[in-house]
Structure formats: C-alpha cells, structure tokens
C-alpha cells in the first residue's frame, strides 16, 4: 500500500541533505536564466517552482558516455604485431534525481521499452536505471507549452517516478510510487500525511484542469504514415526549422545515439553520445547516401518516430511525454503539437499531374 507522508516546507532542504549523505542527489538549480540539474552539495540552493530547461535525461543516459577504454599494445618482438586491450567501463553511481517533473521521469518509460526490452537489454542503460531513483514534484501550474495530457499523462502522473511530492499549503505530500521509493520514506523528517491526501488529489485535478481540454493523437500513427510521401506537407511544416538539435537534446524521450572511437595515439575510448535527427550526420550512410537528406525529411522523422513508428511497435505508447521543451526552447518556435494536429486534420496533398 502506498504511504502518504507529510514534509514541512522548511524541512525540504534538510531531507535532500539527508538523502545526499549516501548517494549522489541531482537537484534543479539556476544558472544565468537557465535551470539545470546539478549534484547537491552543502551550499546548493535548489529551485522547484519551475520546469528545468534541461531535463535530467543525462542521469541515466549521459550526453556522452564511455562504453570502453582501449589501448593498442605493440609486441616488442615484432612491432608489426599490435594487440588491443579493452577495459569495460560500466560505472553506475547510486543516484536520486530530486525535484524533476513527472513528465521528466515518465520520459524514461519510453527508454525502458527500447533499452530494457524483452529481447535486448543495454547493460549500460540498465545499470544506471537500476541505480537511479526519481523523487518528482507534481506540477501545480502547467505552462503554455505543456501538453502532457495529450499523450496519456498528467501533471501528477506517477509513472516512472519512485516518490511523488505534491506541493501543498505549508509543505509537501510525499507518496511512494514504487517499492524502491518506499525505502526513501524512512526519514524522521516525514510525518503522517494521510489527512492531506484529499487536498493533494484536489491539487492534481486543478493542475490537470488548467491544461484545458486534451486533443487526442489516437489517429496520428495512421495519418502520419499516410503523409509519409507527402513532402509538400513536410516542407511546409518544417519551413521555419533551423535544423539545430535543441528540441532533441532537451527532450526527455529522445534516445538516439551515435558511437565513435575517439583515439589519441595508442589510447582511446569508444563513446556513445546523444544523436539528433535534425542533424545531417543522422543516418548518413558510409556510401554518402542519406535517406533523410533535407530538414523536411528530418523533422518528419522526429514527429513520425514519436507519434507513429514508436507507438506502432510499442503497443500504442507515444514516445513523447508532453513536457513542451521542444516548443518552448525552439529558437523558431516550431510547435510539434501543431504539426501532429495538421497531419491528422489535413488531407494528403494530391501530386500534380505529370
């Protein structure tokens, strides 16, 4: 059974400090105008009232991760003979991500189906996933770019979280969502919160209502496939895109990666880094052929992957958590909601007669 505890507002930092005694705790902090996740230290001042610019994606899926280190060793007897020594480098660090939004935590459920699936498991991802817990903060006032309710989520969605905090008058309701989350609730700073549950549910309902009516993308998978060859449509909706990677790099659900060997002399490392379907190198083949040669093809991939190809493979689950960062931080204000909507509402353009 889920436990409901209460944490007074003035004990919040104390609880974080307590958690940080035995593990790395990542918290949102302000740098310039941006909010980013940083390891908690003694003087850290976390900020919880607003969505972080960068989601805590790197906590499990680092922007650049060493898969292995390697060294070339010459045989002193025969310098033409070179052996390769490889060192595996899975180094998970026990971590709590504290104060992310439910959308940020839900993002990893999109990763799980890919990296921790029935057929294939990625050992690097799995090790980090298992060593990381999410204490999320239910959202009390969604922003203009938010649309979590479109994709089957909500401002208080517990999916992907281990503990859910709900801001209330004077403090927070603290509820465990997973078995592992329960272990975090043993702190003496937490008191019984069962009388506050009703208040929290009302707050959840109010936040959801503030998002307005949801639009259903149920038809999107089929409609996007229907428009696959309608390049006129894609050119129109991608016209303002400047092909940077802000949308994908800030996305809690984008999981594409690139693998490169970065070698200096006889030593090197094989690294896995975030890839980005807005970039020319994405799916560029060794022959020089690129199946996605223009920004229209690339944006089609981004929208199609999230709202069509992924749901088709993964039982209808949409590969988007509705956090809205791709809209909010796009230098040209490209709006994925608008593109998905148009893909459903507009008829396929008929090719001109030859």
């Amino acid at each position: 059974m889920m436990a409901a505890k209460f944490l007074p507002a003035d004990k919040l930092n104390e609880w974080i400090a307590e958690l940080a005694e035995s593990r790395r705790v990542l918290v949102p902090v302000t740098e310039q105008n941006a909010v980013v996740f940083r390891p908690y230290a003694k003087d850290t001042e976390p900020v919880f009232g607003r969505q972080a610019n960068v989601p805590p994606k790197a906590s499990i899926f680092p922007a650049s991760e060493r898969l292995m280190a390697f060294t070339y060793v010459k045989n002193p007897e025969d310098l033409g003979q070179v052996a390769v020594e490889v060192q595996e480098t899975i180094e998970p660090e026990p971590t709590v991500v504290f104060g992310a939004r439910p959308c940020d935590a839900r993002g990893f459920t999109v990763f799980d189906r890919v990296y921790d699936g029935k057929k294939v498991q990625d050992p690097y991802y799995k090790a980090r996933r298992e060593s990381t817990l999410f204490v999320t903060m239910a959202c009390d006032d969604p922003e203009n770019a938010c649309f979590c309710h479109w994709v089957g989520s909500s401002p208080s969605d517990p999916e992907g979280s281990d503990v859910l905090l709900t801001p209330l008058e004077g403090g927070f309701l603290v509820e465990d969502v997973s078995k592992r989350g329960k272990e975090l609730l043993s702190s003496k700073l937490l008191s019984d919160g069962s009388k506050k549950v009703k208040e929290a549910r009302a707050a959840h309902a109010a936040a959801l209502a503030a998002l307005g009516e949801a639009w259903s993308p149920a038809e999107a998978p089929a409609k996007l496939i229907e428009k696959f060859d309608d390049m006129g449509f894609w050119e129109q909706v991608s016209a303002k895109c400047i092909s940077c990677g802000a949308c994908t790099y800030l996305c809690p659900t984008c999981y594409c990666f690139n693998v490169t060997d970065e070698r200096k002399g006889m030593r090197g490392e094989r690294i896995r880094t975030w890839d980005n379907c807005m970039s020319f190198q994405f799916t560029l083949e060794a022959s020089g052929h690129n199946p996605r040669p223009t920004k229209a093809h690339r944006l089609k991939n981004r929208v199609g992957h999230k709202f069509s190809y992924y749901p088709d493979i993964h039982g209808g689950a949409i590969a988007c958590c509705g956090c809205g960062r791709c809209i909010k931080f796009c230098p040209a204000s490209v709006d994925i909601r608008e593109i998905v909507r148009l893909s459903v509402e507009r008829p396929v353009s008929k090719p001109e007669k030859q």
Binding site: Q32, V54, S64, P142, G245, L250, N276, S333, R337
Partner: protein
C-alpha cells in the same frame, strides 16, 4: 498608415514576382512570435510587427536554392546580415527583395523571464501580452504586470546605431531618428578581470552547453551547415565527447569564423536554450576587427570585408613597426 499596414500593402504588391516572403507571425503563446512564410495573398494576414518580433529572418536566405526569389522582412540589425551576406556573395541581390522596417528595439525574453521571476511568476504561464505606452503589459497567474519596455529590451538595442534597415527595396513607416554609441562597456568590464577569472567564467558557462548547435544554426552568417567541423569526422577536429574542452573549442572556432563577419544580431545567444552569453565572445572579436581594420560588419554593401581581402599593409596595422 501604421507600419504593419504599410508593410502588408508593400508585400501584397510585390508578392506576385516572388516565391515567398518571410516575416513574423503569432507563435505558440502570446509572448512568442514565429517566422511565417507568405506564399499567397491570404497568408499576408498572418503578419505581425511589434517588439516581440525578435528573430533575424535573414538566416533563412541562404537555405534556399539560388533559383528562388525571396522577400525578407528586416529590422535595422537584421538588415546588416543581409548586407554582409551580399558582400560575401552568399546571396544574389537579384533574387532578394528586402522589406525594411524602422525599429525602436526588441524584447529580450530572458529579461522578461527574470523580471517575472523576481515577482515569483513564470514566463511560461503568461496568458496575454500587450505593448502600450512604452510598457509590456502581461497577465500571468491572475496578476497584471507592467514592465517598462526599456528595462526588457535586448542589450543590443541600447547600443544600436542602425534602427532603420540599412538596405531595402521597400521601407514601411517613418525612419527612427538618432543613434546610440557603442563604447563596448560590457566588454571593458569583462576585460578588467584576470585571464584566470575569465577562463573560470567561461568554464562555468560552458558546463551547461548541450551541444545542440542552436547558436550555430540560428546564425545568419554560419553557412557551412552540413560541413561544419564541429561534427565532421573527416577531418576530425572536435571529438564527439561533451567535455568542457570540446564545447569551448567549438565556441572558439565559431567565434573565429565570424570575426569581421558577425553583425552582432545576437541570435546565437537568443537561440541558446541554456542561456550562455555567447554574444560576449563575438563582441570581443568585433571590437578587435573594428580597431584593426576600422570595419563594422554589414554596414557598407560595396566594401570588401577585411578578412576576405588582402592588402600588403593594412592602414591600422603597423606590421613593420613590430
């Protein structure tokens, strides 16, 4: 006639000879404008012009094949990019129609965000925005907030010498008079620090970089596009790693490639999703170029940019006196 109406009329008149005109329209919320691509008369109604029209639309000019005839709407600062693109022969004058505007400054949404945060309000929740009597009036979380426009204008506007489009085929409205002086005070404050302090500052800033390259792609002068050395594997100048070295190295290369070309439109900084003050690097090089070559990028269409030219002796560089 108000500026916007005059602009619309000019576009309506010129549109038949053009494939498209690029202007600003309403974005996803009341504070955001977005580029709009006008292809027919009905699209003209989407146009907006106010201090929230921040994008430098000239960045799209090099993204179309040479065959297209394109109209572009520009403020003073944006027009300098058009001039620089022409000087570098990156666009063909015959294929461009410039719709010039007068501008009294555009909002820096970073400043709006900070001003709201000081009142514990969030920019992402603004429900309405109007510009009236020198104020930006916002409705947010049940409150009305009036911000003095002067407090939230981009820094570049405070030192602007080119309020009116410096190049144009059509000009809507009345030219704005007067010009500010740019004494590079922001740079002076930065340069007063020790080298170690400056390095420390940049380390702290670059830590946040997500390598999304929005700075590069928003830049109207960054035209290498798919051949950028930041991602190229052959030659492999920059590792795919995301260490501070790689991030800083890329920004240094970016800045150097723009020396004498950057018109300081600030799009790199505006596009950055994690608020890295990138314009500072570009301003430093801009100042050096001005002192060495007495040249300000994008102001004189007929002049050859100094780093694209070769002179045995530059007027302001006393080579033989070293």
């Amino acid at each position: 006639m108000p500026v916007l109406e005059e602009l619309k009329a000019q576009i309506a008149r010129r549109l038949p000879e053009l494939d498209m005109v690029i202007g600003w329209g309403h974005g996803y919320d009341c504070l955001h404008r977005t580029p709009v691509f006008i292809e027919n008369a009905a699209d003209i109604e989407k146009l907006v012009f106010d201090p929230l029209c921040v994008h430098n639309l000239s960045t799209y000019l090099t993204r179309y094949g040479s065959g297209k005839k394109i109209g572009v709407v520009v403020k003073g600062c944006d027009s300098r990019s058009v001039v620089e693109l022409l000087q570098e022969k990156l666009i063909n004058r015959d294929n461009i129609v410039v719709f010039g505007l007068p501008c009294e400054g555009v909002a820096d949404l970073g400043k709006v965000k900070r001003a709201l945060q000081e009142q514990n309000l969030d920019m992402g929740r603004v429900k309405s925005a109007t510009v009236e009597g020198g104020k930006l009036i916002l409705a947010v979380s049940g409150k009305e907030v009036a911000l003095a426009l002067n407090d939230v204008l981009a820094d570049k506007c405070g030192r602007c010498r080119y309020h009116n489009a410096v190049i144009h085929d059509e000009f809507a409205g009345t030219p704005v008079e007067g010009q500010a002086q740019d004494a590079y005070e922001d740079l002076a404050a930065f340069e007063n620090q020790t080298l170690e302090e400056r390095m420390e500052f940049w380390r702290g800033q670059m830590e946040r970089c997500v390598r999304c390259y929005a700075c590069r792609n928003a830049c109207p002068m960054c035209v290498c596009r798919d051949h950028c050395i930041a991602q190229s594997r052959d030659p492999n100048w920059v590792s795919q790693g995301d260490g501070l070295e790689e991030k800083f190295f890329f920004q240094m290369i970016h800045a150097m490639h723009l020396a004498g070309r950057c018109t300081e439109c600030g799009e790199c900084e505006r596009a950055c999703p994690v608020d890295i003050p990138l314009l500072l690097l570009k301003r430093k090089l801009g100042k050096e170029i001005q002192e060495l070559f007495d040249y300000r990028a994008g102001t004189e269409p007929e002049v050859k940019p100094p780093l694209l030219a070769f002179k045995v002796e530059e007027d302001n560089i006393n080579e033989r006196g070293w």
